[in-house]
């Protein structure tokens, strides 16, 4: 009995995976992301120089074989800074995405299964927070408390909770009416058991898709903050590199082009993986 139940989702899973890889862009993007994660983890092995050490090379030299992405005004190696910058970007994106995912599922399932007043209240809060100009909230927090990568990531994650919770709640609401969920209740299970056993697998796809979009936008927001100078100056950050490049735009194009391209590649990959995930979990969209 148990084995029969578990084979159905597995078949759907492989079916979905075929949908995912059928989009070339999503497949390539997933590969790029894996590569970026490896680069971030192995940064000290890959980067030829310490990322923030000044004077490792002459200042402002264009891309060459010794300095792949050139050097900045203080003689820091651009390539090394970009390699280490991947850590900052992925940390912010990862923390924010995880918080949004976990809290979003929790609140979404709770509201969707419980219904009534709890649901009403949660949805009001969610609706209100969706209007919030996130970037400005972050600016105010950064200017009052000073820049911190972890605080930025955490707050961005919390601000992203509503968009995950809203969609999870809608799915949970629909699932509540499904026969197998009703059967779960009829067997005498608690809300918690039903939520974990029967509802969670159904909402996981949506939650994953929305959360990965939030990872992308968290990385963009962090880049914007550090572009304005609100970043921890002890860690390499792509946004901070772009901030520094502004004064040298007309003389040192490489200082502006490479960090921005790094952000664009990572965010684009995450976005297209999210699109692949959406296609995988919601095949109806693929046929369009």
């Amino acid at each position: 009995m148990a084995s029969r139940v578990s084979t159905i989702p597995r078949r759907q899973w492989t079916h979905g995976l075929r949908h995912f890889t059928s989009s070339k862009l999503a497949g390539i993007s997933a590969a790029i992301l894996v590569l970026v994660v490896i680069i971030a983890l192995a940064a000290p092995l890959i980067a030829p120089y310490p990322p923030l050490q000044t004077g490792v090379s002459p200042a402002l030299i264009p891309p060459s074989t010794t300095n792949l992405f050139g050097t900045d005004d203080l003689g820091r190696d651009g390539f090394s800074a970009i390699v280490f910058g991947a850590r900052t970007a992925l940390t912010v994106g990862g923390i924010a995405g995880f918080v949004a995912f976990a809290v979003g599922i929790l609140l979404g399932c709770w509201g969707g299964l419980r219904g009534g007043r709890v649901d009403d209240f949660l949805m009001r809060v969610v609706e209100a927070f969706q209007v919030l100009p996130v970037f400005f909230v972050m600016l105010v927090i950064a200017s009052v408390f000073g820049p911190s990568t972890e605080v930025t990531a955490l707050v961005l994650g919390l601000l992203a909770v509503p968009s995950v919770a809203r969609l999870v709640r809608a799915e949970a609401l629909a699932l509540r009416e499904a026969d197998y969920v009703a059967a779960g209740y009829a067997l005498g299970n608690t809300h918690l058991t039903v939520a974990f056993r029967h509802v969670l697998p159904g909402v996981l796809g949506t939650a994953l898709t929305v959360s990965s979009l939030e990872v992308a936008s968290a990385i963009l927001t962090e880049a914007g903050l550090s572009f304005l100078g609100f970043s921890d100056s002890n860690v390499a950050s792509w946004g901070a590199m772009l901030n520094n490049s502004r004064q040298f735009l007309s003389s040192a194009w490489w200082m502006a082009v490479f960090p921005g391209a790094a952000i664009a590649v990572v965010v684009l990959s995450i976005n297209s993986v999210a699109e692949g995930l959406a296609n995988m979990t919601n095949p109806r969209l693929v046929q369009r």
Partner: protein
Amino acid sequence: MSNLWLFAVGRVARAFPLVVLLLGFNFVMIHTAPGDPVAMLIGDAEAPELIETVRRDFGLDKSMPEQLIAYGSNIIRGNMGISYRYRLPVGGLITERLPATLLLMGSAFLISMLVGTILGVVAAVRRGTWLDSGLSVLALLGASVPVFWVGMLLLLAFAVNLRWLPLYGVSTVGFRADGIWDLVSDRVRHLILPSVTISVGQLALIFRVTRNRMIEELSKDYITQARAKGVPITRVWGVHALRNVALTLVTIAGLRIGVLFSGALLTEVVFAWPGIGQLMYGAMVGRDYPIVMGVFAMVVAVTVLANVVTDISYGFLDPRVRYG
């Protein structure tokens, strides 16, 4: 009609707690901000009696709840405090710079709506062709690049290398216009790069939404019926289908006002555009908290208001919403 007004009033009432909550957040932030506001205003060297007098004048000797109420009523009257640096009322500083920002946001909004909708319709009716896939990939890219980087690349290309367009500002310094056309063309030349910069992300979104909603609409029965009746195909696309898509676009546009504001802030910094974004950036660097909080309160107010207006106009545009 009364149904609709009830809907509108209800929507406004529902926005109220959010505004109160955000003003509360703002108030807490002002009091958490490092530095004594009075010392920031008049300097530390002054006599202690003077500091006491100023504290009383500003109501800073009162209890926190009293201060919160005073803050609320001040905000409602448009009184947002005095800038540490300019020593002028924040409200005035904001209204002085708001038109430049609105001009930027307005042009970006127009560009993204116009181009995004047209390209979206084109991609939808040519679905599955190379044109459609090409545009879709471009849109994905447009939604992924940081707005300020787009600005820097455009500057690099068109102002630094090609020298077609000016580097920064709203107008040429020391420029003497030969009549009105000269003046307008100088302003427009300054406006092009920053407004294109802000529009990129928005354009990508509008394109994607238009394309997907158009494809959805075009598969519906009323389209087949219109075609069967002999309505010209361009009219079916442009009038029948697009009209239903427009409802979705209105919602998106309303929800995205906050994003447009943040795009404007970053773009103003890149292009040295003298709007409220620059004002806020300078205030953040110089720890001029009344301005930071003032701009924040203004942006929040506009964003919430835009959403309320969108929701209500949606009710007016689509009869289904009222009874839903």
